[in-house]
Symmetry: C2
Subunit: 197 residues, 2 copies
């Protein structure tokens, strides 16, 4: 009889985390309260507080959940299966997509809130660093380059920084058309620099 | 007798705008209330409300003030006075510095708040667009390139997107050492692509 109860508890917890990330993305940091998350998830405030006694507990768990999802997305990136410049374009487009999107919007809310909350910053910095490392390693593997070369490492990092800048531009306006031209222009330079044409 | 009074009023207004931007940068969006800005500026709440009846009025005026300062900084960028690759490196470093810094931190607070506030977004988007255009035009002039060529235009835009991504990375941790390596690596590729070596 305990198994199904544990399952239900796990499912409730999972739903709370997913809802917290969704509320962060759509409503922003300030609006992300235990009360709103409880209402959106259709769970009583008391039940939420059983899982997460404070707003901070809930947000930190949601952050960890979100970064686990981002890292799983990195691992799930398929081999784009082209070669030469076409392959580099495909990999850069994948990375830009991976860094941006809804999880970026949720992360942005949290980054911005770290200004007023150093304890939150201490939680976010290692998560963000781990995501950056995984994305970097994946890019290196997909491109088949050797990042022990410092120049190669910098160009891969620059590509991830570009992806972050494009994701930020997309927060204000739908930037998809402009972005795809920039991805191609950048990828072509990267292919030349990495001798992958 | 009216002149000095107008001057004082202008100075008060100016001080309120500067203080609002500083409070946004250091304390974040949520903390930026009329009460806190009044306290930090050493001005009574009533006097603040004489200039700016609502928090929204104050924030919108501060935004316009901040973007005017960012655009003035674009116009003030000196000619770096080198040539070839060295010049490209200097220009890219200038652009990265220009896009980042305290005004970026303040702008980030506002961008993030636009998620919960479409009216604020309607104010920010044209300001941000104008800043982007000015920075782009300045980069084109300093590099001496012709951005009627779409490829040139995309590479300049990519450089500004990279600058934004680097600015965001710097919000979480002091990223200055890593950043300077990335600036150089990208600038060298840009110089090759634009035939400026």
């Amino acid at each position: 009889m305990t198994e199904p109860k544990q399952d239900r508890s796990r499912q409730t917890r999972q739903r709370l985390l997913t809802t917290t990330v969704a509320v962060l993305t759509s409503r922003g940091w300030e609006a992300t309260t235990v009360a709103l998350v409880a209402a959106e998830a259709g769970i009583s405030r008391g039940a939420v507080q059983h899982h997460f006694p404070t707003r901070e507990d809930l947000v930190v768990a949601a952050l960890e959940h979100m970064f686990a999802a981002r890292i799983a997305a990195v691992d799930a990136l398929p081999d784009p299966g082209e070669s030469g410049m076409k392959r580099v374009r495909a990999v850069v487009a994948q990375l830009v997509e991976l860094v941006g999107g809804d999880l970026f919007r949720a992360a942005l809310q949290v980054w911005t809130a770290t200004t007023a909350d150093p304890a939150l910053r201490a939680v976010v910095v290692p998560l963000e660093r781990r995501f950056g490392k995984e994305a970097h390693a994946r890019a290196v593997r997909l491109l088949g380059v050797d990042d022990r070369d410092p120049e190669v490492r910098r160009l891969i990092q620059a590509t991830l920084d570009l992806a972050r800048g494009l994701a930020l531009a997309d927060v204000l306006t739908d930037d998809s058309r402009r972005r795809s031209g920039i991805v191609t222009a950048w990828a072509d330079q990267l292919a030349l620099a990495l001798d992958l044409t």
